[in-house]
């Protein structure tokens, strides 16, 4: 009955009321406070949010107005979202770690009159830019610490606001009025405005409506069979579409319990205590977790270490096939069962994954080894692809159809089309209503027939029917023979090798693809130690012929895997070199978020690029570098270049035949 009822409710406050009816005494939210997990049932949450809404109304918040939500994942901030929606006001979550500059842009652009904030730190940040926010009138806060000597004319504690509302609600007519307000909310009204992070220009306010949000959430709740018995840990930024979708929207629609960590630093411990059944983590988090496990295993006793490595080997051989329901020899099943008792089970328990039924990762490409590791120990990790404009989901991998290099087929009721230039276009139940106060940008992001342009280039894999995302559409180039050249796709494939730290690929409007590689000093250094390769500096190690041989093997493997794809076969790497210095943000070669600046590097290393394309076997280069203390110096080197063999692609073979 639940999904049907959810489909009828077209705003989140109505869903909340439904949940209080259906699951009144079941936990809706948990929060660890003073070391103890506090729990609120759906019934209690509804009562609290009603009181909060009345309190906010008495402060002056009205239908259609916006209210900023700033802070970490705390129940009171989620209730602020719910209470605002109850009044028909529009919550605007802002990243808690946003600097004052970004904060003032969003708050001014969204024209907020109110802000619900976590603590004094956020209040200080807002006060520091208050002259840019003439419309801001009131702030309500969760944590009163350090605020004693502040001017309280414009500050109220959330507890006081809720208490004020509770007192007002003792008058039955107020309750009737609030019910009318909730009923007056329409599914087509703006439910929330989520600002994009602004990696591609200024951030834009993505307006999502209640009806579409709920429809999208109902689809995926059914897709992953989420119920009121599930539990999720809300540890991702509140202002990110992922948190709003995965935890808030799905939590309300499915009626599952959302747990808030004690603090951002304790999320991993809290994960273990809560034991969620639904989990999301970006690849970077998964990688950090694995690294931590591996480091601790190196310190473990001899027996434990041997056992760990043996059974992880067993898991690599059989684990994924068992999870996918494929045939596995009896001995494999037996060994895996023993490994589960001795290693996988305890390991998952330590990581807090014991009860995870569905786990997703997304955001960037995930290394095949990393992905396989988690799946092999029995974690049902899957990939999805989406964006804020879609209200997260565009594609997701169904159980049993998991591949590390795809993001899955279109989600239920999502329509995907690939444009001429390779850009992925979609139409989905949850798609956004427009950018806030920016019709021009909204029009730019849509095709005339109503598809949203993702800005990402991709294609459907022929074998699996899944979507593969290769790069930002504007970065995808073409070789002179017309073959597709997706730089990031190639770079990521190489970067999955631990020996390779950074890669810059060139090929747009050129005859063939060349790459410049940075080796990883830790990984290659430890390899050198084991193989008695003597080196004095990064530069010396990078130029070592044995290192070149090793990297050449990696490049050849990547070429083979590119050749296996009809679309990518033309983008195989013809020549490569290993750079004599590490690319560094201080020299402007990387962005502060560690992304390569391809254009800048091409200019800086112009002699190398020239040598790559004119066929010379080596080239001289000298570059200016900035040391950590600000001094400048030059590094000169003679860099060798290697030629690679191009593998035949299936399509090319077809043509030849």
């Amino acid at each position: 009955m639940a999904p049907h009822a959810a489909a009828q409710a077209d705003t989140f406050p109505k869903v909340l009321i439904r949940n209080a009816h259906l699951y009144g005494s079941r936990p809706a939210m948990r929060h660890k406070d003073l070391g103890v997990w506090q729990t609120w049932t759906w019934g209690e949450v509804l009562a609290l949010v009603r009181a909060y809404a009345v309190g906010l109304h008495r402060l002056g918040l009205k239908r259609g107005e916006t209210i900023a939500i700033v802070g970490a994942n705390r129940p009171k901030l989620y209730w602020s979202v719910m209470a605002a929606q109850m009044l028909g006001a529009v919550p605007v979550p802002v990243y808690a770690d946003a600097v004052a500059e970004e904060l003032s842009f969003v708050l001014a652009h969204a024209e907020v009159r109110y802000a619900a904030v976590e603590d004094q730190e956020q209040i200080d940040k807002i006060l520091s830019v208050k002259e840019r926010l003439p419309k801001l009138e009131h702030m309500v806060y969760d944590e009163k610490r350090g605020l004693r000597d502040y001017d309280h004319a414009r500050l109220r504690s959330m507890d006081d606001v809720i208490e004020d509302g509770r007192k007002a609600l003792t008058d039955p007519s107020v309750g009737v009025w609030l019910d009318a307000e909730i009923a007056a909310g329409k599914g087509s009204d703006a439910s929330i405005i989520l600002y994009t992070s602004g990696t591609t220009g200024t951030s834009k306010g993505v307006v999502l409506t209640g009806e579409r949000s709920i429809k999208a959430a109902a689809d995926t709740v059914a897709f992953d069979k989420l119920t009121e018995n599930d539990v999720a840990l809300a540890y991702l930024p509140l202002a990110w579409v992922g948190d709003h979708y995965l935890n808030y929207a799905q939590g309300l629609v499915a009626g599952f319990c959302m747990a808030c960590p004690e603090s951002a630093d304790t999320a991993m411990q809290d994960l273990r205590e809560i034991g969620p059944s639904f989990y999301f983590a970006p690849p970077r988090t998964l990688e950090q977790l694995l690294t931590r496990v591996m480091i601790r295993m190196e310190d473990a006793s001899f027996l434990k270490r041997k056992m760990f490595h043996y059974f992880i080997g067993v898991a690599r051989r059989y684990g994924e096939r068992i999870l996918n329901g494929q045939p596995v020899p009896l001995i494999g099943r037996l060994l895996y069962a023993i490994g589960n008792i001795l290693v996988y089970g305890p390991l998952k328990n330590v990581l807090g994954f014991s009860r995870v039924r569905v786990a997703y990762t997304a955001g960037e490409a995930i290394g095949p080894d990393l992905f396989a590791f988690y799946r092999s120990i029995g974690l049902n990790l899957k990939q999805l692809y989406g964006q804020t404009e879609a209200f997260l989901y565009v594609t997701a991998q169904p159980d049993g159809e998991i591949y590390s290099d795809t993001v899955g087929p279109a989600c239920p009721n999502v329509d995907i089309r690939i444009a001429e230039n390779g850009e992925v276009l979609f139409k989905s139940p949850g798609m956004f209503a427009g950018y806030f106060k920016d019709e021009a940008k909204t029009a730019e992001a849509m095709t005339p027939d109503g598809y949203v342009m993702t800005g990402d280039a991709g294609f459907f894999d022929e074998k699996t029917g899944h979507l593969k995302i290769i790069d930002r559409a504007k970065d995808v180039g073409r070789l002179t023979d017309g073959a597709l050249f997706p730089p990031k796709y190639i770079e990521n494939k190489l970067k999955f090798y631990p020996n390779i730290r950074e890669v810059v690929a060139y090929g747009d409007k050129r005859d063939f693809v060349c790459v410049m590689i940075n080796i990883d000093l830790t990984a290659v250094g430890s390899w050198a130690e084991r193989n008695n390769v003597v080196y004095g500096s990064y530069q010396e190690l990078a130029g070592n012929p044995l290192v070149y041989d090793m990297i050449e093997k990696h490049v050849a493997e990547v070429n083979r895997s590119l050749a296996a794809d009809k679309v990518m076969g033309g983008a195989q790497i013809k020549r490569f070199l290993i750079l004599h210095k590490e690319l560094d943000a201080d020299d402007g070669e990387l962005t502060r978020t560690q992304k390569v600046r391809r254009g800048f590097i091409a200019e800086r290393y112009a002699p190398l690029i020239k040598a790559l394309y004119d066929g010379s076997g080596e080239a001289d280069i000298s570059t200016e570098v900035t040391f950590e203390d600000g001094r400048k110096g030059t590094i000169s080197a003679r860099v060798k270049i290697r030629d690679m063999k191009i593998e035949p692609t299936p399509a090319a073979m077809g043509r030849a035949a």
Partner: protein
């Protein structure tokens, strides 16, 4: 918020006063004829160059050293020989220049140890950990959790102290002193060896302790910026002699202080 560095002087009653205190170790005069007072609710700084007698002064206040001359009056009671545990019972807590925690115990256990003086059930009850002893422990744990929340150290609750970075150990030491719910908190160089960010955090905590719990604080600190920002009043020692006493601004412009710090031809 109190404007940092404003010379507003707390108007509370005198909580502790030192009158004509002198202390010497053999021929070395550590402190000679120093008088000053600490008022309720203020942050009082004791500064001075190396070897000026600051830590000796602090040790006199909490009863670790006994001055040969002079009197210490705390909460209206004058004691010529106060011992450290009397000071602790009386509501004086302190932190140390070099961290003095139980390194093998977890952060939580260190904080619980700070509650020892407030425990009333005897040793055997606590061994049993049952009934009233359990109820008492729960109550103490609750107070400790409030301090953990206050100092934002939830993530290190179960971490042995020896594994913690220095800045966190300093913060934890403040926490253990707070667990005693002191009336007077003595901080001996709370920011020594910290980087700028850690110093800023620690300053915030010191202000918050003063603001939130109303605790009177006497601190020794070398970082002049920190002292001038945090404290209401400053007393300056040099070679065991008090050379200045007043608001940060008064002290800053005092010629004797400038000479003591920059050095003059004698």
């Amino acid at each position: 918020m109190r404007a940092l560095g404003s010379p507003e002087v707390a108007v509370g009653d005198v909580l502790l006063s030192a009158e004509n205190v002198s202390l010497s170790f053999g021929g070395v005069k550590a402190v000679s004829d120093v008088s000053f007072d600490i008022r309720k609710g203020e942050i009082r700084a004791i500064i001075g160059p190396n070897g000026a007698g600051k830590t000796s002064m602090l040790n006199i206040i909490n009863g670790f050293y006994h001055p040969q001359q002079g009197r210490i009056t705390f909460k209206g009671e004058t004691r010529s020989k106060m011992r450290p545990h009397d000071a602790a019972h009386g509501g004086i807590a302190r932190t140390f220049q070099n961290v003095a925690l139980f390194r093998g115990m977890t952060a939580l256990d260190n904080l619980m140890a700070g509650r020892t003086l407030k425990m009333h059930k005897n040793f055997f009850w606590q061994l049993l950990r049952f009934g009233p002893a359990m109820a008492e422990e729960v109550e103490h744990r609750h107070r400790v959790e409030e301090i953990i929340d206050f100092l934002k150290i939830q993530n290190i609750r179960r971490t042995p102290v020896a594994q913690l970075p220095y800045g966190l150990q300093k913060r934890l030491e403040l926490g253990r002193a707070l667990a005693m719910e002191p009336d007077l908190l003595l901080l001996d160089e709370p920011m020594a060896g910290m980087n700028l960010e850690e110093k800023e955090d620690m300053s915030r905590f010191v202000l918050d302790v003063n603001n939130h719990f109303g605790t009177t604080i006497a601190l020794i600190e070398h970082d002049m910026g920190v002292v001038m920002d945090l404290s209401n009043r400053v007393v300056v020692l040099d070679h065991g002699i008090k050379i200045a006493d007043g608001t940060p601004d008064q002290v800053k412009s005092n010629q004797a202080v400038i000479d003591a710090y920059l050095g003059v031809a004698h």
